[in-house]
């Protein structure tokens, strides 16, 4: 579990997770700012896998009302969301 990360590490971790888990290693298909939904990267199970990863990896709790595209729909959104949550518990 990680309690404090700089932006690069968080972004790297998330990028790595998305690449391994949803793109099966094809990292060239991933652009940080692009919508995971629009690109068809993520499906209904994928959202839950993502939430589970964030909760397990960073030790934070994703509330139901936070499980929305504004927080989770791109590497950039995810990075910002995780950093905000980590800052709140730091």
């Amino acid at each position: 579990m990680q309690t404090l990360s700089n932006t690069m590490t968080v972004a790297d971790d998330i990028r790595q997770f998305v690449t391994d888990n949803f793109l099966f290693g094809k990292s060239a298909d991933l652009v940080d700012g692009e919508s995971l939904l629009d690109r068809g990267v993520i499906d209904s199970t994928g959202v839950l896998e993502l939430i589970q990863f964030i909760e397990d990896h960073y030790g934070i709790k994703v509330e139901d009302e936070e499980a929305i595209p504004q927080n989770l729909d791109s590497v950039t959104c995810l990075t910002n969301y995780v950093r905000t949550k980590l800052a709140a518990i730091a």
């Binding site: 099966f24 209904s44 199970t45």
Partner: protein
């Protein structure tokens, strides 16, 4: 029920009986009781027989009394008794009591349109020696398979592709557009198959080969134009009519000179057909089912309840994760196409049980979901349209969660995500495939595993363009509910349910399935019903439930729809998993075949090994990749070798 094959030499040379014998050797499982070959000049017909009607007199290929017409036929014409009477009254002569001879005389009487007089399930070929014309036909809904190809000098046809592949001049090569279609729709769009230049005769079609020319036409298609009167006012009368039709459909499907059994899954459909068989055939009915180790898939308590209520002697075969992995290569040998779910594997075990119990014929409930509003996809489309009419509603999307109570991952989704996954944007609502977009797009995600070489051969959206071109003219005028029904009936039903999961799994063990819900009279009646009677608000198969009141247990009539599913990818990763799977999913095998990206597949396999692959998408991808590799291994590389799957063959060879 049988296997058929044949050849027509287009250069007029003599057909080779040895070639027909080679083809028949691949179809022995379809007809182990007898076989026959007939050659007449350029035409040769062959037949592997599973004897069911007129055990003594029904040998094939068969000719008319004067020897002018010859036939090889797989299937049953259930109304042959009535047709025989009609033909006798018109002066035709018969030498046997078989339905096969009825087809010959019907052809003589009615010509190519004879098939419109048939109520049954068939794939047949008639050689007209006088006109030197070959006539082929396949039943309305595609219960029985028929494949053909044209080489430099021959037209070849058979019940299964593997028979065609034995012929000189035929090479097995993967059709990448066919593969792309399977990785979108779960099936290819006829006449395409997953093998290049090997065609399937589309359901409801006939074909003539004459003077070197091939002519294919559709003699029947489903029409959903609803009847004018307000059906809702006569629900009771229509329920009665439905039951009456189903009873008669069942009655003529009991015509057999060998005992008939019944599949009993624990759902409404097979419970209705089993109950009708019991009423019509009386005592000592045997019923059969699959039970699962894993409670998530198991329906055995409902099966037991239905059996006790109806009064059948019930037998089941248990299916574990290991069983699925164990028989999978054989399953693919029979499906002859990649599949995305393992659901055919338990059906393979089930037909083995039926055959071992001494039965060749079973009645089953297939077709009710397609014809009478049973599938969740019909309910889903109704909810999505309802939500689409008021996209800002916060509670309408919650109905989607209630639709899939057994899918945990659905329950935690926010409306924004549901809106995206279920395609309810204004543009989606206008799409002709609105009903099927979520399923097809989810399936198509497995294409991420295609190698760059394969991807470069397939144009994006080509599969969608092809299915759109195949739509009937009337499609746009039908209700959205009927459009969804049509897509299921025209494609998934013949291309997967009745083939990979139906004919191929039953015939693997020489068992014939018969389907009362697919009697064309039931189908045409159902097509004219108002959609609101098939699904009243969100009550699936509403009219069938009403029609079966008292016939089946209340608990089965009222239970929520449980789609038939089997354990998927996990089956191949229990303890070490089967050796063949590790081999076919290795980088070496993947690179050798060149269809999938070995790095991406390795990442998927790792996800399974880590126990993190729980979603439908990953499971479809894994099963699709493995089954494609097996198809290539069996039919293209032919590297199976005598011992490679010896273990699985020995374990399940029931004969």
């Amino acid at each position: 029920m049988c296997g058929i094959s044949g050849v027509l030499k287009l250069d007029g040379s003599q057909a080779d009986p040895h070639q027909l014998i080679d083809m028949l050797a691949m179809l022995r499982h379809r007809g182990p009781d007898a076989s026959g070959v007939h050659v007449a000049g350029p035409a040769g017909l062959a037949h592997a027989r599973l004897s069911i009607i007129d055990l003594q007199g029904g040998a094939q290929p068969m000719s008319t009394v004067d020897g002018c017409l010859w036939i090889t036929f797989n299937g049953e014409i259930f109304n042959y008794v009535e047709l025989r009477e009609e033909l006798l009254s018109k002066g035709h002569r018969f030498a046997t009591r078989s339905d096969t001879e009825v087809i010959l005389n019907a052809y003589r009487e009615f010509g190519e349109e004879c098939v419109t007089h048939f109520n049954g399930q068939w794939a047949l070929a008639i050689w007209d020696t006088t006109q030197q014309k070959l006539f082929l036909s396949r039943d309305r809904l595609g219960v029985r398979p028929l494949f053909y190809t044209r080489t430099r000098d021959s037209l070849l046809f058979a019940s299964e592709i593997k028979a065609v592949l034995t012929c000189p001049g035929v090479t097995a090569e993967l059709d990448l557009r066919g593969l792309d279609q399977i990785f979108t729709f779960w099936c290819t769009l006829p006449p395409r198959t997953v093998f290049k230049d090997i065609c399937q005769l589309p359901p409801g079609s006939s074909m003539v080969v004459e003077d070197g020319h091939i002519r294919v036409w559709k003699y029947w298609s489903i029409d959903y134009a609803p009847a004018e009167e307000d059906g809702c006012l006569q629900e009771g009368k229509l329920a009665e009519e439905l039951l009456c039709l189903l009873s008669d459909a069942t009655r003529i499907r009991l015509r057999s000179d060998v005992p008939v059994g019944a599949y009993l899954s624990g759902g409404i459909d097979s419970t209705v057909t089993t109950a009708l068989v019991k009423k019509l055939a009386g005592d000592r009915l045997r019923s059969f089912s699959v039970s699962f180790d894993d409670a998530e898939f198991d329906e055995s308590s409902y099966q037991q309840e239905a059996s006790s209520f109806i009064g059948t002697q019930h037998t089941d075969v248990n299916c574990s994760y290991e069983d699925i992995a164990h028989v999978f290569p054989q399953v693919i040998w029979h499906t002859e196409q990649p599949i995305l779910r393992t659901a055919p594997a338990p059906m393979f075990l089930l037909s083995n049980l039926v055959r071992k119990s001494g039965f060749k014929v079973v009645l089953t409930g297939e077709g009710a979901d397609e014809m009478l509003g049973g599938y969740d996809i019909f309910k889903e489309v109704k909810i999505r349209r309802f939500w689409g009419r008021n996209l800002g509603s916060s509670w309408r999307p919650l109905l989607l969660k209630r639709l899939y109570p057994y899918m945990e991952n659905m329950q935690r989704q926010s409306p924004a995500y549901l809106k995206s996954f279920f395609h309810v944007t204004p543009e989606d609502l206008e799409n002709p495939f609105f009903s099927h977009l979520p399923r097809w797009e989810l399936t198509a995600k497995a294409k991420v595993f295609f190698s760059d070489a394969v991807r470069s051969e397939i144009l994006p959206d080509e599969a969608f363009a092809e299915i759109e071109r195949a739509l009937p003219k009337a499609y746009s005028a039908w209700t959205p509910f009927n459009q969804a029904e049509y897509l299921e009936c025209a494609h998934l039903l013949p291309g997967y349910i009745l083939s990979s999961q139906g004919d191929r799994m039953a015939m693997a063990h020489s068992v014939e399935g018969r389907y009362p819900f697919l009697d064309y009279r039931v189908v045409e009646f159902a097509a004219k019903l108002p959609p609101t009677l098939k699904m009243k608000v969100l009550d699936q198969k509403h009219l069938l439930k009403r029609a079966s009141d008292g016939l089946i247990p209340v608990s089965i009539r009222k239970r929520p729809k449980q789609p038939y599913r089997a354990p998927d990818g996990k089956s191949f990763f229990i303890s070490e998993g089967p050796e063949y799977a590790a081999d076919l999913l290795s980088s070496r095998a993947l690179q050798q075949n060149g269809i999938f990206d070995s790095g991406a597949v390795a990442a998927l396999v790792n996800k399974f090994k880590a126990g993190r692959a729980n979603g439908v998408k990953d499971n479809m991808a894994l099963v699709g990749i493995l089954s494609t590799q097996i198809v290539v291994d069996h039919f293209i590389n032919q590297s199976r070798g005598p011992n490679k799957y010896a273990n699985t063959l020995e374990h399940n060879d029931c004969r």
